[in-house]
């Protein structure tokens, strides 16, 4: 679990840059009953945002010689909650009891809890594409248990949609900033997850490829706009140290 924790730290670091802009208008599921959270907002983006979304990854670490660790581990990421933002400092946690689609205009944007499953803390993310914004996924704060803390400024995490070559800095904290570059918007990635009924064990996705460079560590993230992150590779001083591949993805609301 040590590797999973380290990955989570990394993900949290990536998610910690923020810039406050309006979020995209949420998609609202139809009323009239259905599974839990059916009425809660959801927001399509390069990372599909919706309460209950859950990703399971196969995580492999490598030593400094590039040899793989003998065992792989599962890493589970989930969106555990959603908030409605009333103003710059006010978040209201939404539930099936206090929210209906008719309330959507009440909030400036919707903010989602994004964290490793089983951990009681993580980041608050939102998607913004309003005019004047750099379109993309932003980290606007963090949460621990039921308490939330908003950053002064939202931090751009994943630019989307973006042009190849777009580059920006993502500041995880006040001391360090990672340089993120959009290497490709049509890269290819194969992973086991797929909705098809066929016999193929791997399925191909067209992805955005983000390069995240922080000191001697370079991480390459593959994101598909329907599935989210399908995998990533991390190199330290040019040596592959981590690989991660999506094995399963569940969307609770469609």
């Amino acid at each position: 679990m040590r590797h999973s924790t380290r990955l989570l730290v990394r993900i949290v670091a990536v998610l910690s840059a923020a810039m406050l802009v309006r979020c995209a208008m949420p998609m609202i599921a139809d009323a009239g009953g259905g599974p839990p959270h059916v009425l809660l907002p959801r927001t399509p983006s390069i990372l599909p945002l919706g309460v209950g979304n859950q990703w399971r990854y196969s995580y492999t670490s490598y030593d400094s010689s590039g040899a793989a660790h003998p065992s792989t581990e599962d890493l589970n990421i989930t969106i555990s909650g959603v908030y409605g933002r009333l103003d710059d400092s006010m978040l209201v946690r939404l539930s099936d009891d206090n929210f209906t689609p008719a309330d959507s205009d009440t909030y400036q944007e919707f903010v989602y809890e994004y964290a490793q499953e089983g951990y009681n803390q993580g980041d608050l993310v939102t998607y913004r594409d309003a005019p004047g914004d750099v379109r993309g996924l932003y980290v606007v704060g963090s949460f621990t248990g039921a308490s939330t803390a908003l950053f002064d400024t939202a931090r751009l995490w994943l630019a989307y949609a973006a042009d190849p070559g777009a580059s920006y800095y993502y500041t995880a904290d006040t001391a360090t900033s990672a340089r993120i570059t959009v290497l490709s918007v049509r890269d290819t990635f194969f992973c086991p997850y797929g909705q098809t009924q066929g016999a193929s064990p791997m399925h191909m996705y067209e992805c955005y490829l983000y390069e995240d460079v922080l000191a001697d560590t370079s991480t390459y993230y593959y994101y598909n706009d329907e599935v989210g992150m399908v995998g990533y590779l991390q190199y330290v001083s040019g040596i592959r140290r981590v690989s991660c591949m999506l094995m399963d993805f569940e969307q609770s609301w469609w």
Binding site: L183, F190, A199, M202, M247
Partner: protein, 577 residues
């Protein structure tokens, strides 16, 4: 061979002495109780024999009693009443005739029985000078509705019978069936016995038909009529115990009032059909003698099957006239749809067989469906192939039901299986680190196809193409497909496997041609070829991504058993053109 020989002594015709009275009891029953077929022509037997006896036998109508489908008690009362009427002093003659089912100990009259011992005792006690019993009854089974039950000893009266002054003629020997004929519309033995009395048996050409002549004629004709019967050859027999020398005249053709004479020069088989097409008489005539057959007034068709072919003449018989048919009167006729005398034709038949052979089906559409699913692996330089053979072995079974004639219903099932596996290696340079990583894909597939076809067929039952059948119908093909694969990615150190099982049903029409040859009465071998047609590949219901095109040809050798097989005995039928 049991031949009738009433004695070597001089036969003195026992004509119809003055004062003698002839009595007859003609009994018959179509039913024989549980397990025995209903007989069709018992009433015909009784009616036609009565007519002949009245016309030529010297019987008065008041002295002939006909009992059709009556009870044993009614028969017993009739025989008892007859005993009181008969007189031995006047050379009276009593004829008892029975047509129906029987078993070794009794006449089976519907669900009741009349003990043969009682019949024998009753006949023995009659004071008549001559007592004649003609019994057309024996075992019964099959389409010919043979009569009687299973016999474990010679039928009716045993050889040591003490009956005195009694002649018994019976229609078949101990273990044989007596048979009816759809063509004659009589029991076969009775038909020939009646013909004998009409004059066909007048070998001495003296105008009198004796018991000896009637028996010899009936004996020969019954054997020839049943020699090819599925129920076996029927051998009539006799039991003769009469004191004194002489023969017994059963019919005096001098009493006849009208008939058809066949002059010298006409030889071979002769059939006389009435205006309705019913066969009245059927006999073989010697070429060098004249011959008279007594018939009722009316129009007749005479058909002669001689050595040079078949010829026919129309004859109008008027009251109290003898019409002669001369060779010149016969006009050659063509024959259509005729069968050889005594030919067996299959009746109901249920066959079960096995088949094995080969087939051809273009499964490329199914292969292409699978390959399309794996086409993305070209990214790694891999091009999986799911090859399936177009030619395959097939094994199965078939059930045929031939309810009648040329119609055959078929249920055929067979199947074949194909499978394959492969391993593919690829490599690709990772764009982020510039290193070539290896990839491996293994695949395995197997597909099973089970076909169940059903439909009618037309089978040729005669001629050189006998056994050839043309089929048309619908077949359902059940398809079961399993595909499994494993992909190993060395860049991400991930290996993932997946397997699916799917399939569906495809329905398509077929045409077929088969031939079967009967190597034993119930065993056949054969060959068959079927063509299945479909215009386009069908999409499998369980696996929508897969399409399959099963149009193709199957061929197989077959071997089978006729589990249930019945034959019908077919006599020749003339059709004039």
């Amino acid at each position: 061979m049991r031949r009738f020989a009433l004695g070597t002594a001089v036969l003195i015709a026992l004509a119809l002495p003055a004062g003698a009275v002839r009595y007859a009891v003609l009994a018959g029953n179509s039913a024989g109780g549980a397990g025995l077929d209903q007989l069709r022509y018992v009433n015909n037997d009784l009616t036609e024999l009565r007519d002949v006896l009245l016309a030529f036998g010297g019987f008065e109508p008041k002295n002939i009693t006909t009992l059709y489908n009556r009870t044993p008690s009614e028969l017993a009362r009739t025989l008892a009443g007859l005993s009181s009427s008969v007189s031995g002093a006047n050379d009276d003659l009593v004829l008892f005739y029975y047509s129906g089912h029987a078993d070794p100990r009794s006449l089976r009259m519907g669900s009741d029985r009349f003990a043969l011992a009682d019949l024998r005792a009753t006949l023995d006690s009659m004071p008549a000078r001559i007592r004649i019993a003609v019994l057309d009854a024996c075992r019964s089974e099959g389409f010919t509705r043979a009569k009687g039950g299973k016999l474990d000893e010679p039928f009716l009266f045993k050889e040591d019978s003490k009956v005195s002054g009694t002649v018994v003629l019976y229609s078949s020997s101990s273990t044989e069936n007596s048979q009816e004929s759809d063509r004659y519309k009589n029991s076969i033995f009775t038909f020939h016995f009646i013909n004998a009395l009409r004059g066909c048996a007048d070998m001495s050409q003296d105008g009198k038909i004796t018991v000896n002549e009637a028996y010899q004629y009936s004996y020969g004709r019954t054997i020839s009529s049943t020699v090819h019967s599925a129920d076996g050859v029927q051998h009539p027999g006799y039991n003769f115990r009469i004191q004194g020398e002489g023969d017994i005249v059963l019919a005096d053709l001098n009493l006849r009032t009208q008939g058809i004479m066949f002059g010298k020069g006409i030889g071979g088989g002769v059939s006389i059909l009435d205006s309705a097409g019913a066969l009245v008489a059927d006999f073989v005539k010697e070429n060098g003698s004249a011959f008279v057959v007594a018939v009722n007034p009316g129009g007749y068709r005479v058909v002669n099957s001689g050595g040079t072919g078949r010829s026919a003449a129309s004859v109008l018989v008027t009251d109290r006239k003898i019409v002669e048919v001369r060779p010149a009167d016969l006009v050659a006729v063509a024959v259509a749809g005729s069968t050889s005398k005594g030919e067996r034709r299959p009746g109901f038949c249920l066959s079960v067989g096995l088949l094995g052979g080969g087939g051809h089906a273009d499964l490329s559409s199914l292969s292409a469906s699978m390959e399309q699913e794996f086409s993305d692996y070209a990214y790694f330089g891999m091009h999986p192939r799911f090859s399936m053979p177009a030619n395959f072995l097939r094994f199965g079974g078939a059930v045929e039901v031939n309810p009648f004639g040329n119609l055959v219903l078929l249920w055929i099932g067979d199947g074949f299986h194909t499978e394959g596996s492969a391993r593919y290696h690829g490599s690709r340079v990772n764009s982020v680190d510039g290193v070539a990583y290896g990839y491996e894909l293994t695949t395995r597939h197997d597909a099973s196809f089970v076909t169940l076809g059903t439909g009618p067929g037309f089978r040729v039952t005669r001629g050189p193409l006998r056994g050839l059948t043309i089929w048309a119908g619908i077949c359902d093909i059940w398809i079961d497909i399993r595909v499994s694969s494993t992909f190993t990615d060395s860049l991400y150190s991930v290996s993932n496997s997946k397997s699916i099982r799917g399939g569906g049903t495809v329905t398509m029409p077929y045409l077929g041609l088969s031939y079967r040859y009967q190597v034993f009465p119930r065993v056949y071998v054969g060959a068959q070829a079927f063509y299945r047609y479909s215009r386009q590949a069908a999409r499998l219901s369980d696996t929508p991504g897969y399409k399959v095109q099963l149009r193709g040809v199957n061929a197989a050798l077959t071997v089978g058993v006729d589990v249930i097989k019945r034959w019908k005995h077919v006599e020749p039928e003339e059709s004039e053109q």
